[in-house]
Symmetry: C2
Subunit: 442 residues, 2 copies
């Protein structure tokens, strides 16, 4: 009896996980069967929030992933290297893996899952997306029979916190970011968060699980929130929207067939649109009211309809919940069978999903124009949009910025390429001073 684990890393998540595993009273009784054999850290002499018996903490991390008694390696060190190399070596040595490392999985998932399949081990990654929110396992198991059409997520707490405060306080991006950094809600180098890179990692993982194919991260369109201005937040509000950084993965030919018999031509690894960008979300949409550091993932499938998972997207406790539950699930899986793997929990897909270029995606757009106060500008805009097949939902002249008139346009669903062509032409108009904002609308 007993499953022996080695933990790589004793930072926030590692510490939370060790604390949880050491306080098993009142939790699932099977937790008592987990033994922490080794914890690998860079500086073993550093004082820690958790006390571990002598001999467990070690800086010889390599010896952990090859340790003959260890069944499961828990990688919570973060970063690409040496995490990648250690995980691969652990897999080679027949260890099952639990990881919270979204950056690694989104970039090297291909290599890691191929190795895991070859070695016959599991790679569990619930903590990689949405912190403590169960979403990876529900997608793999509870929703497994659905044709997933769309995953739409608020998966980065930092940017959601910043946008929420910009919305409620009317402050600028720079001011809120500086404050968030002081409060510890944003990193000293906020690039990965505010540029949408972290969200892109997460949506590529979710898309891979939902659509049964691998995702090339480089093909994921990614636009951050730096350019979201207070002016646009205010306009959006007047039009009935809030601005959120959404991570979206969408099947290009949605399977809408309501429970029909006829086999659809939909492939299991379909063509997708996968992207991260600030988005105008209608105020009555379930994602519109997800505020602050919370995350939420909305899954739309057939025949399911829509379900949403909501909760804390980060934090030691929430992430430790996900990491430790993955460990406990492995313990349960190993108890039930040590020979065959559960096919819903392994990575079966080999092929890459085809991701369509951003120009081909179809969505609504919000654009803001600064124009010279000339008669007929609105007519010219409308005519030019029409020329490129862009039909308009609304076009309003609301305010002035100095001498310039401000015109805001919301389109119907159109391909992004057509919108860009229309805007390129509009930019040449004499009456147009500038086009400060182009945002997508959910």
């Amino acid at each position: 009896m007993g499953v022996k684990i080695g933990i790589l890393g004793l930072g926030t998540v590692g510490t939370g996980t060790v604390q949880l595993l050491l306080s098993s009273a009142g939790r699932h009784p099977m937790l008592k069967e987990i033994e922490i054999l080794k914890v690998g850290v860079r500086s073993p002499e550093k004082s820690r929030e958790v006390e571990l018996p002598f001999g467990i903490v070690t800086s010889d991390i390599e010896s952990i992933v090859t340790h003959p008694e260890i069944d499961i390696i828990v990688e919570v060190m973060g970063g690409i290297e040496p995490a990648r190399e250690l995980i691969l070596k652990a897999i080679e040595n027949g260890k099952h893996i639990v990881t919270a490392n979204k950056a690694l999985i989104s970039r090297y998932g291909d290599e890691i899952f191929s190795a895991a399949n070859k070695a016959g081990v599991y790679v569990m990654l619930e903590a990689a997306v949405g912190g403590g929110i169960p979403v990876v396992q529900p997608l793999k198991q509870s929703l497994s029979v659905n044709r997933i059409n769309t995953i739409t997520g608020i998966v980065n707490g930092t940017t959601n916190y910043i946008l929420t405060r910009m919305q409620t306080e009317g402050s600028s991006f720079e001011d809120v970011l500086a404050d968030a950094q002081q409060l510890g809600y944003a990193e000293a180098d906020p690039t990965a968060d505010v540029e949408g890179l972290d969200a892109a990692d997460k949506i590529s993982i979710l898309a891979s699980i939902s659509f049964g194919g691998r995702i090339n991260l480089k093909e994921v369109y990614c636009e951050g929130i730096r350019q979201v201005s207070q002016t646009d937040i205010a306009y959006a509000e007047k039009l009935g929207f809030v601005i959120k950084l959404l991570a979206i993965a969408k099947r290009n030919t949605p399977s809408s067939s309501p429970l029909s018999h006829s086999p659809l031509p939909t492939p299991y690894s379909p063509s997708l649109s996968v992207r991260v960008h600030p988005t105008l979300v209608p105020v009555n949409h379930p994602l519109a009211s997800i505020n602050g550091v919370f995350n939420a993932i909305l899954v739309e499938g057939e025949p399911l309809g829509q379900v949403m998972f909501f909760g804390p997207g980060a934090g030691a406790g929430a992430t430790a919940s996900a990491v430790s539950s993955d460990i406990l699930n492995l313990v349960a899986l190993l108890k039930a069978s040590t020979t065959s793997l559960n096919p819903l929990l392994t990575c079966a897909h080999q092929d890459y999903c085809q991701i369509s270029p951003i120009e081909e995606q179809i969505t609504r757009f919000y654009a803001r124009f600064l124009t010279k106060d000339q008669p007929g500008v609105i007519g010219k805009l409308g005519t030019c949009f029409g020329k490129y097949g862009v039909s308009l939902e609304s076009i309003v002249q609301k305010g002035f910025q100095g001498e310039l008139a401000e015109i805001v346009v919301v389109t119907h669903d159109v391909t992004e390429g057509n919108v860009r062509k229309a805007l390129a032409e509009i930019r040449t108009f004499d009456a147009i001073d500038s086009i400060p904002s182009l945002l997508r609308v959910l």
Copy 2:
């Protein structure tokens, strides 16, 4: 290869499930390994929405649960008998079970799970709670390491639809119910829904899974929405609340220890408060914005914090998603091991949770009084409440109903027994005409 299933019942959920299983294109490839061997119905000659090959549909239901080739029995007939007897016989014959039958599981779970454990088979019931929303499996697996403190759910779509329309339209309960019946959102006999019985079934199942002990349904306090009046909805709104029918299961001694080492005295089958009643929910609470027929389940655990699951609580597609995913999970489990069961997915607990009487529960209360317009009534109310240890958050006299003044009181957290004693005494006051409403506050 191939897993053979027998389906009992071909109503809405059964039809949705058969349709899903027969349209496997674009879904998880493992679905193709499922073969529907038999479908049991009462009237095989009745015309159906699904076409099945000759010989599959039969009225000899008993022969299905004993059929030697069938691995999984899918019970979607509903009702207590003959569902109970058929499931027990199927288990006796070594079949795994998938059921959507909350009424049966909440009443006879004890008998069914004991039989299943003895026979070494699974009983899967994702569809019994929350329709297509994954909540049973996430509680069993993804959240398995947490000490769950509270489950708070809107788990009955009919009553939530009625309350939402009462709130938005200002209509009376009777009018909205009649309309809901016409629209098919409420049954001709709405008792199970509007009296809270359906919600009680569901919360007892969720509590059993979350707290690792069985629940005696008879001990679950249950109060429906018939007595919720437009007056109270309006007062609640003024005070910053909406009224929802909540199903609540709560650990009486919450485990709040923030990741501490020290083993807590919390038992794994703890003392609980389990109840269903209309509740004033603060407007900024995540459950306050769950409207119409949607369901949502909020789980609060340590170290997790709060997560919420939201989606369609009923309907053929959503329920078929849950039933079929349970089937697919069984297929995956059987592929990985045909000898041992996954301990997180079996029912391990034997003991009953202790459920404290409603008098001992601690919550806030909202009470509305009709009083004769005499000076000093508010003082007398306050004094009497104080005598029983009931401290008040607010006490306001807002309006008149004819000759009578209307006073609304919101208490701080108190035991229900003390509130009842205070109200019994207040009822004897000369100045008190009546106490039309007593509602609990989240």
